[in-house]
Protein backbone atom coordinates (compact mmCIF):
# COMPACT_ATOMS: atom_id res chain seq x y z
CA UNK A 1 0.00 0.00 0.00
CA UNK A 2 1.51 3.30 -1.06
CA UNK A 3 -0.83 6.27 -0.84
CA UNK A 4 1.99 8.69 -1.62
CA UNK A 5 2.37 9.67 1.98
CA UNK A 6 5.64 9.64 3.86
CA UNK A 7 6.10 8.20 7.31
CA UNK A 8 6.41 11.70 8.74
CA UNK A 9 3.26 12.81 6.93
CA UNK A 10 1.36 9.86 8.34
CA UNK A 11 2.63 10.60 11.84
CA UNK A 12 1.65 14.28 11.56
CA UNK A 13 -1.83 13.38 10.28
CA UNK A 14 -2.44 11.08 13.21
CA UNK A 15 -1.05 13.63 15.65
CA UNK A 16 -3.50 16.25 14.35
CA UNK A 17 -6.57 14.10 15.01
CA UNK A 18 -8.94 15.75 17.45
CA UNK A 19 -10.01 13.85 20.54
CA UNK A 20 -13.46 12.37 20.21
CA UNK A 21 -16.18 14.19 22.12
CA UNK A 22 -19.29 12.07 22.46
CA UNK A 23 -22.57 13.47 23.78
CA UNK A 24 -22.32 10.91 26.59
CA UNK A 25 -19.01 12.50 27.69
CA UNK A 26 -20.62 15.93 27.79
CA UNK A 27 -23.53 14.56 29.85
CA UNK A 28 -21.09 12.86 32.18
CA UNK A 29 -19.05 16.03 32.64
CA UNK A 30 -22.00 18.37 33.07
CA UNK A 31 -24.05 16.26 35.44
CA UNK A 32 -21.44 14.47 37.55
CA UNK A 33 -20.89 15.72 41.06
CA UNK A 34 -17.28 16.00 42.27
CA UNK A 35 -16.07 12.69 43.64
CA UNK A 36 -18.74 10.75 41.71
CA UNK A 37 -17.93 8.39 38.82
CA UNK A 38 -21.22 8.76 36.99
CA UNK A 39 -24.42 10.75 37.56
CA UNK A 40 -27.65 8.81 38.20
CA UNK A 41 -29.89 8.46 35.18
CA UNK A 42 -33.30 10.02 35.75
CA UNK A 43 -31.85 12.57 38.14
CA UNK A 44 -29.62 15.62 37.89
CA UNK A 45 -31.80 17.08 35.13
CA UNK A 46 -30.64 14.65 32.43
CA UNK A 47 -33.49 14.26 29.95
CA UNK A 48 -34.49 10.88 28.50
CA UNK A 49 -34.19 12.30 24.98
CA UNK A 50 -30.60 13.40 25.54
CA UNK A 51 -29.67 9.93 26.83
CA UNK A 52 -31.38 8.22 23.87
CA UNK A 53 -29.42 10.51 21.55
CA UNK A 54 -26.17 9.79 23.42
CA UNK A 55 -26.70 6.02 23.31
CA UNK A 56 -27.44 6.20 19.58
CA UNK A 57 -24.16 8.04 19.07
CA UNK A 58 -22.26 5.47 21.17
CA UNK A 59 -23.73 2.71 19.01
CA UNK A 60 -22.54 4.43 15.84
CA UNK A 61 -19.12 5.14 17.33
CA UNK A 62 -18.51 1.65 18.71
CA UNK A 63 -19.78 0.06 15.48
CA UNK A 64 -17.32 2.20 13.50
CA UNK A 65 -14.46 1.26 15.85
CA UNK A 66 -15.39 -2.41 15.56
CA UNK A 67 -15.55 -2.20 11.79
CA UNK A 68 -12.13 -0.48 11.58
CA UNK A 69 -10.61 -3.03 13.96
CA UNK A 70 -11.97 -5.85 11.79
CA UNK A 71 -10.53 -4.28 8.65
CA UNK A 72 -7.13 -3.84 10.28
CA UNK A 73 -7.18 -7.45 11.44
CA UNK A 74 -7.82 -8.54 7.84
CA UNK A 75 -4.94 -6.56 6.30
CA UNK A 76 -2.47 -8.69 4.39
CA UNK A 77 1.06 -8.66 5.82
CA UNK A 78 3.53 -6.30 4.08
CA UNK A 79 7.12 -7.37 3.69
CA UNK A 80 9.53 -4.56 4.49
CA UNK A 81 12.77 -5.24 2.65
CA UNK A 82 14.46 -1.85 2.85
CA UNK A 83 14.44 -1.64 6.58
CA UNK A 84 17.00 -3.28 8.80
CA UNK A 85 16.40 -4.09 12.41
CA UNK A 86 19.83 -4.59 13.92
CA UNK A 87 18.49 -6.40 16.96
CA UNK A 88 17.27 -9.21 14.70
CA UNK A 89 20.19 -9.32 12.31
CA UNK A 90 19.62 -12.80 11.01
Amino acid sequence: MNAGISLEGLRDSIAQLQSIELKAMVLLREHRSPGQFTPRIGQNGITRESIIEAVGEIREYTDTCQSVANRLADLAPVSIKAFSVLEYGL
Binding site: L28, G35, T38, R40, I41, G42, R48, G56, T62
Partner: protein
Protein backbone atom coordinates in the same frame (compact mmCIF):
# COMPACT_ATOMS: atom_id res chain seq x y z
CA UNK B 1 -11.22 4.67 57.96
CA UNK B 2 -14.56 4.74 56.11
CA UNK B 3 -14.14 8.46 55.56
CA UNK B 4 -10.68 7.87 54.07
CA UNK B 5 -12.04 5.17 51.79
CA UNK B 6 -14.81 7.47 50.57
CA UNK B 7 -12.27 10.22 50.01
CA UNK B 8 -10.01 7.85 48.04
CA UNK B 9 -13.02 6.77 45.94
CA UNK B 10 -13.83 10.39 45.18
CA UNK B 11 -10.24 11.18 44.25
CA UNK B 12 -10.10 8.16 41.98
CA UNK B 13 -13.34 9.23 40.29
CA UNK B 14 -11.99 12.73 39.71
CA UNK B 15 -8.71 11.42 38.30
CA UNK B 16 -10.46 8.96 36.00
CA UNK B 17 -12.77 11.63 34.64
CA UNK B 18 -10.01 14.17 34.10
CA UNK B 19 -8.35 11.87 31.57
CA UNK B 20 -10.09 12.13 28.15
CA UNK B 21 -9.52 8.48 27.28
CA UNK B 22 -10.80 7.19 30.62
CA UNK B 23 -13.68 9.66 30.44
CA UNK B 24 -14.64 8.18 27.05
CA UNK B 25 -14.57 4.67 28.51
CA UNK B 26 -16.60 5.72 31.57
CA UNK B 27 -19.21 7.47 29.44
CA UNK B 28 -19.66 4.45 27.17
CA UNK B 29 -19.91 1.88 29.95
CA UNK B 30 -22.21 4.20 31.92
CA UNK B 31 -24.89 4.57 29.26
CA UNK B 32 -24.31 1.56 27.04
CA UNK B 33 -23.03 -1.45 28.99
CA UNK B 34 -23.69 -3.70 25.98
CA UNK B 35 -21.52 -1.53 23.69
CA UNK B 36 -19.32 -4.50 22.73
CA UNK B 37 -22.20 -6.49 21.21
CA UNK B 38 -22.74 -6.14 17.49
CA UNK B 39 -26.17 -6.54 15.82
CA UNK B 40 -25.44 -10.12 14.80
CA UNK B 41 -24.04 -11.15 18.18
CA UNK B 42 -24.99 -14.74 19.00
CA UNK B 43 -27.64 -14.49 21.70
CA UNK B 44 -28.42 -18.17 22.33
CA UNK B 45 -25.82 -18.48 25.08
CA UNK B 46 -26.79 -15.25 26.80
CA UNK B 47 -28.57 -15.05 30.10
CA UNK B 48 -32.24 -14.00 29.76
CA UNK B 49 -31.87 -10.40 30.89
CA UNK B 50 -28.76 -9.90 28.77
CA UNK B 51 -30.70 -11.25 25.80
CA UNK B 52 -33.54 -8.85 26.52
CA UNK B 53 -31.16 -5.90 26.79
CA UNK B 54 -29.38 -6.93 23.59
CA UNK B 55 -32.68 -7.03 21.70
CA UNK B 56 -33.89 -3.75 23.17
CA UNK B 57 -30.58 -2.08 22.29
CA UNK B 58 -30.96 -2.98 18.63
CA UNK B 59 -34.71 -2.73 18.13
CA UNK B 60 -36.12 -0.37 20.74
CA UNK B 61 -33.24 1.88 21.90
CA UNK B 62 -35.54 4.13 23.93
CA UNK B 63 -36.65 1.15 26.03
CA UNK B 64 -33.02 0.05 26.34
CA UNK B 65 -32.18 3.45 27.81
CA UNK B 66 -35.12 3.27 30.23
CA UNK B 67 -34.07 -0.23 31.35
CA UNK B 68 -30.45 0.85 31.87
CA UNK B 69 -31.85 3.72 33.96
CA UNK B 70 -33.75 1.22 36.12
CA UNK B 71 -30.57 -0.86 36.50
CA UNK B 72 -28.75 2.25 37.72
CA UNK B 73 -31.53 2.85 40.22
CA UNK B 74 -30.82 -0.62 41.61
CA UNK B 75 -34.16 -2.13 40.61
CA UNK B 76 -34.37 -5.80 41.59
CA UNK B 77 -34.39 -8.54 38.96
CA UNK B 78 -38.06 -9.45 39.18
CA UNK B 79 -39.21 -5.82 38.97
CA UNK B 80 -36.82 -5.24 36.08
CA UNK B 81 -38.34 -8.17 34.16
CA UNK B 82 -41.82 -6.81 34.82
CA UNK B 83 -40.68 -3.39 33.68
CA UNK B 84 -39.29 -4.76 30.38
CA UNK B 85 -42.43 -6.83 29.72
CA UNK B 86 -44.69 -3.87 30.50
CA UNK B 87 -42.68 -1.47 28.33
CA UNK B 88 -42.55 -3.83 25.33
CA UNK B 89 -46.26 -4.64 25.69
CA UNK B 90 -47.11 -0.96 25.88
CA UNK B 91 -45.15 -0.46 22.69
CA UNK B 92 -47.58 -2.86 20.98
CA UNK B 93 -45.93 -6.28 21.28
CA UNK B 94 -47.52 -8.49 23.95
CA UNK B 95 -44.71 -9.88 26.11
CA UNK B 96 -45.57 -11.95 29.19
CA UNK B 97 -42.07 -12.90 30.28
CA UNK B 98 -38.63 -11.97 28.99
CA UNK B 99 -37.62 -15.53 28.11
CA UNK B 100 -40.21 -15.35 25.30
CA UNK B 101 -37.86 -12.99 23.50
CA UNK B 102 -35.43 -15.76 22.56
CA UNK B 103 -38.12 -17.31 20.31
CA UNK B 104 -38.57 -14.20 18.19
CA UNK B 105 -41.18 -11.44 18.31
CA UNK B 106 -44.23 -12.71 20.23
CA UNK B 107 -47.29 -12.70 18.01
CA UNK B 108 -50.86 -13.15 19.23
CA UNK B 109 -53.07 -14.57 16.49
CA UNK B 110 -56.83 -14.10 16.79
CA UNK B 111 -57.96 -16.06 13.73
CA UNK B 112 -60.76 -18.62 13.60
CA UNK B 113 -61.38 -21.63 11.36
CA UNK B 114 -64.73 -20.97 9.74
CA UNK B 115 -64.73 -24.47 8.23
CA UNK B 116 -64.26 -26.16 11.60
CA UNK B 117 -67.52 -27.05 13.34
CA UNK B 118 -65.89 -26.60 16.77
CA UNK B 119 -65.45 -22.90 16.04
CA UNK B 120 -69.19 -22.38 16.42
CA UNK B 121 -69.23 -23.84 19.92
CA UNK B 122 -67.16 -20.84 20.98
CA UNK B 123 -68.63 -18.42 18.45
CA UNK B 124 -72.31 -19.19 17.88
CA UNK B 125 -72.73 -15.50 17.03
CA UNK B 126 -71.02 -16.22 13.67
CA UNK B 127 -73.75 -18.59 12.50
CA UNK B 128 -76.11 -15.99 10.95
CA UNK B 129 -73.20 -14.62 8.88
CA UNK B 130 -72.24 -18.12 7.79
CA UNK B 131 -75.82 -18.64 6.76
CA UNK B 132 -75.80 -15.35 4.82
CA UNK B 133 -72.94 -16.78 2.72
CA UNK B 134 -75.05 -19.85 2.00
CA UNK B 135 -73.07 -22.18 4.25
CA UNK B 136 -75.03 -24.53 6.49
CA UNK B 137 -73.41 -25.80 9.66
CA UNK B 138 -74.35 -29.39 8.87
CA UNK B 139 -72.49 -29.13 5.53
CA UNK B 140 -69.43 -27.40 6.95
CA UNK B 141 -67.10 -30.36 6.38
CA UNK B 142 -67.93 -30.49 2.67
CA UNK B 143 -67.74 -26.75 2.05
CA UNK B 144 -65.40 -25.41 -0.63
CA UNK B 145 -63.31 -23.29 1.73
CA UNK B 146 -61.33 -21.53 -0.96
CA UNK B 147 -64.40 -20.56 -2.91
CA UNK B 148 -66.25 -19.19 0.10
CA UNK B 149 -63.16 -17.29 1.22
CA UNK B 150 -62.80 -15.68 -2.23
CA UNK B 151 -66.43 -14.52 -2.14
CA UNK B 152 -65.97 -13.22 1.40
CA UNK B 153 -62.79 -11.35 0.45
CA UNK B 154 -64.43 -9.66 -2.54
CA UNK B 155 -67.40 -8.57 -0.43
CA UNK B 156 -65.20 -7.24 2.38
CA UNK B 157 -63.02 -5.37 -0.13
CA UNK B 158 -66.16 -3.83 -1.60
CA UNK B 159 -67.45 -2.86 1.85
CA UNK B 160 -64.08 -1.25 2.61
CA UNK B 161 -64.88 1.30 -0.10
CA UNK B 162 -68.29 2.19 1.33
CA UNK B 163 -68.71 5.38 3.33
CA UNK B 164 -71.20 3.93 5.84
CA UNK B 165 -69.10 3.08 8.94
CA UNK B 166 -71.44 0.24 9.93
CA UNK B 167 -70.93 -1.51 6.61
CA UNK B 168 -67.17 -0.97 6.85
CA UNK B 169 -67.27 -2.74 10.22
CA UNK B 170 -69.23 -5.61 8.67
CA UNK B 171 -66.33 -5.86 6.23
CA UNK B 172 -63.94 -6.29 9.18
CA UNK B 173 -66.20 -8.97 10.63
CA UNK B 174 -66.16 -10.84 7.32
CA UNK B 175 -62.35 -10.54 7.22
CA UNK B 176 -62.12 -12.08 10.67
CA UNK B 177 -64.67 -14.88 10.30
CA UNK B 178 -63.46 -16.00 6.86
CA UNK B 179 -59.73 -15.31 7.44
CA UNK B 180 -59.41 -13.12 4.38
CA UNK B 181 -57.91 -9.89 5.71
CA UNK B 182 -54.34 -10.48 4.54
CA UNK B 183 -53.14 -9.84 8.10
CA UNK B 184 -51.48 -12.98 9.50
CA UNK B 185 -52.72 -12.34 13.04
CA UNK B 186 -56.34 -11.95 11.93
CA UNK B 187 -56.27 -14.85 9.48
CA UNK B 188 -54.25 -17.43 11.46
CA UNK B 189 -55.07 -19.45 14.52
CA UNK B 190 -52.49 -20.34 17.18
CA UNK B 191 -52.08 -23.70 15.48
CA UNK B 192 -51.53 -22.15 12.03
CA UNK B 193 -48.89 -19.80 13.39
CA UNK B 194 -47.03 -22.51 15.29
CA UNK B 195 -46.75 -24.47 12.03
CA UNK B 196 -44.88 -21.60 10.39
CA UNK B 197 -41.23 -22.58 10.42
CA UNK B 198 -39.49 -19.27 10.86
CA UNK B 199 -40.44 -16.96 13.71
CA UNK B 200 -40.37 -13.24 13.11
CA UNK B 201 -36.90 -12.31 14.33
CA UNK B 202 -36.07 -9.13 16.22
CA UNK B 203 -35.03 -6.25 14.02
CA UNK B 204 -36.40 -2.74 13.73
CA UNK B 205 -38.42 -3.44 10.57
CA UNK B 206 -39.99 -6.61 11.96
CA UNK B 207 -40.82 -4.88 15.23
CA UNK B 208 -42.61 -2.12 13.31
CA UNK B 209 -44.44 -4.77 11.26
CA UNK B 210 -45.49 -6.72 14.37
CA UNK B 211 -46.81 -3.57 16.06
CA UNK B 212 -48.79 -2.70 12.94
CA UNK B 213 -50.20 -6.24 12.68
CA UNK B 214 -51.30 -6.22 16.32
CA UNK B 215 -52.85 -2.75 16.00
CA UNK B 216 -54.73 -3.85 12.89
CA UNK B 217 -55.89 -7.07 14.57
CA UNK B 218 -57.11 -5.15 17.64
CA UNK B 219 -59.02 -2.73 15.42
CA UNK B 220 -60.50 -5.60 13.41
CA UNK B 221 -61.75 -7.32 16.58
CA UNK B 222 -63.26 -4.09 17.93
CA UNK B 223 -65.00 -3.40 14.64
CA UNK B 224 -66.15 -7.03 14.37
CA UNK B 225 -67.79 -6.85 17.78
CA UNK B 226 -69.51 -3.63 16.80
CA UNK B 227 -70.60 -5.22 13.49
CA UNK B 228 -72.07 -8.26 15.27
CA UNK B 229 -74.11 -5.96 17.50
CA UNK B 230 -75.22 -3.92 14.49
CA UNK B 231 -76.26 -7.01 12.51
CA UNK B 232 -78.22 -8.23 15.50
CA UNK B 233 -80.16 -4.97 15.49
CA UNK B 234 -80.34 -4.88 11.67
CA UNK B 235 -80.82 -8.47 10.48
CA UNK B 236 -81.74 -7.10 7.04
CA UNK B 237 -77.99 -6.49 6.66
CA UNK B 238 -77.48 -10.25 6.39
CA UNK B 239 -80.15 -10.45 3.68
CA UNK B 240 -78.37 -7.71 1.76
CA UNK B 241 -75.13 -9.69 1.88
CA UNK B 242 -76.96 -12.77 0.57
CA UNK B 243 -78.61 -10.68 -2.15
CA UNK B 244 -75.18 -9.51 -3.35
CA UNK B 245 -73.71 -13.01 -3.57
CA UNK B 246 -74.94 -13.82 -7.14
CA UNK B 247 -73.22 -10.67 -8.45
CA UNK B 248 -69.99 -11.68 -6.72
CA UNK B 249 -70.21 -15.22 -8.10
CA UNK B 250 -70.89 -13.83 -11.59
CA UNK B 251 -67.82 -11.58 -11.26
CA UNK B 252 -65.63 -14.52 -10.18
CA UNK B 253 -66.85 -16.61 -13.13
CA UNK B 254 -66.25 -13.77 -15.57
CA UNK B 255 -62.72 -13.21 -14.29
CA UNK B 256 -61.58 -16.79 -13.96
CA UNK B 257 -57.98 -17.24 -14.95
CA UNK B 258 -57.05 -13.63 -14.25
CA UNK B 259 -54.13 -13.18 -11.93
CA UNK B 260 -55.95 -10.83 -9.62
CA UNK B 261 -59.41 -9.44 -9.15
CA UNK B 262 -60.64 -6.96 -6.65
CA UNK B 263 -63.88 -6.44 -4.77
CA UNK B 264 -63.86 -2.69 -5.34
CA UNK B 265 -64.51 -3.33 -9.03
CA UNK B 266 -67.82 -5.07 -8.43
CA UNK B 267 -71.08 -3.16 -8.47
CA UNK B 268 -72.85 -4.19 -5.29
CA UNK B 269 -75.91 -2.68 -3.63
CA UNK B 270 -75.64 -1.78 0.03
CA UNK B 271 -78.97 -0.33 1.15
CA UNK B 272 -78.64 2.93 3.00
CA UNK B 273 -80.58 2.25 6.17
CA UNK B 274 -80.55 5.95 7.14
CA UNK B 275 -81.93 7.38 3.92
CA UNK B 276 -84.04 4.38 3.00
CA UNK B 277 -82.75 4.16 -0.57
CA UNK B 278 -79.99 2.39 -2.38
CA UNK B 279 -76.55 3.32 -1.11
CA UNK B 280 -73.29 3.80 -2.90
CA UNK B 281 -72.17 1.46 -5.58
CA UNK B 282 -68.81 1.02 -7.19
CA UNK B 283 -68.65 0.83 -10.96
CA UNK B 284 -67.60 -2.48 -12.47
CA UNK B 285 -66.34 -1.82 -16.00
CA UNK B 286 -65.53 -5.52 -16.46
CA UNK B 287 -69.12 -6.50 -15.79
CA UNK B 288 -70.53 -3.84 -18.13
CA UNK B 289 -68.40 -5.24 -20.93
CA UNK B 290 -70.07 -8.60 -20.45
CA UNK B 291 -73.28 -7.32 -21.94
CA UNK B 292 -73.68 -8.52 -25.47
CA UNK B 293 -75.25 -5.23 -26.58
CA UNK B 294 -72.79 -3.01 -24.73
CA UNK B 295 -71.00 -1.88 -27.91
CA UNK B 296 -74.30 -1.12 -29.66
CA UNK B 297 -75.72 1.00 -26.86
Amino acid sequence: MIHELAEAFGMLADVVNSDPFLELITAITWLDPLWHQSDDHEIDDMEEMEQALHILRHCMPELYVDTIGKLHEGMDRSSLENFVCGAVTQKGIPLDYIDQMRFGIPLTPVGVDFDDIDTYEHHPEFLPLLDAFGVKLEDIDAVDTRNIRTRARLISENLYHQSDPDWKKVGSLIDWVFSCSGNTLIDCTDEDLSEMQEPLWWDSENVALAIEMHDEADLCLDESKAALAWLQDHPEGLEIITANLPTVIEYIEANKGKAQFHGSKISLEWANRHAGHAGETVTAPELLQLRGDADQA
